[in-house]
Symmetry: C2
């Protein structure tokens, strides 16, 4: 399966998922799948900004002896996102509507991360 197929499969299996991406921690996308292009919020830009946060969390945690970051989630009044490390340089992120199935998104990310790691 290609990265794109993995991402499409993830979105299809999570109620309320609006997009997901495989990204490098420097914010460069490897592959992105959006259920709808050009919507609001500007998902593509937001995911890139969230990569900066992921990097910041990783640095802060390492510096202060809390180990490696495995997962980061952000809830706003219009969107839920959950991101999971795939390898030290790459992470996956899923964005959902606020009523989306957050638990299922987390669960599937956990299953998918090791599979993608072997393909990177």
């Amino acid at each position: 399966m290609s990265f794109r197929e993995h991402l499409q499969g993830l979105c299809k299996n999570v109620d309320g998922a609006v997009g997901c991406a495989l990204m490098a921690t420097d914010g460069i996308e490897v592959e992105t799948h959006l259920e709808e292009e050009g919507g609001q919020p500007d998902l593509r830009s937001l995911l890139i900004e969230y990569a900066t946060l992921f990097r910041g969390a990783a640095e802060a945690s390492r510096t202060h002896g809390a180990g490696e970051v495995s997962e980061l989630s952000i809830a706003t009044d219009q969107m839920l996102t959950v991101a999971r490390m795939v390898s030290p340089e790459y992470f996956m992120v899923v964005a959902l509507r606020p009523d989306g199935n957050f638990g299922k998104a987390r669960y599937l990310l956990r299953l998918l991360a090791p599979k993608l790691r072997t393909e990177l």
Copy 2:
């Protein structure tokens, strides 16, 4: 009840909680309660760094049309943290051991945030 009593009560009622704080989004602590001072990770410094992330998430979300951030959580291999906005300038954060009761921490933060907001 004082802020400190609220924070102590929160830690006491969440299995695995190691500390919690009420902080301004500029990283200045209003009140912090640690179950154990001087441990590893350096919790006090870490929570201050996480305030920067909270602010970054809030700015990114606002800029890209995703609304206001309500919650941010970070999992590392040694610690779970969950933070919740109390008002536009203040947030609460709880840190737990990886085997701590994350769901209960989130739930109690949701209950406590509106109470603290009225006291700020």
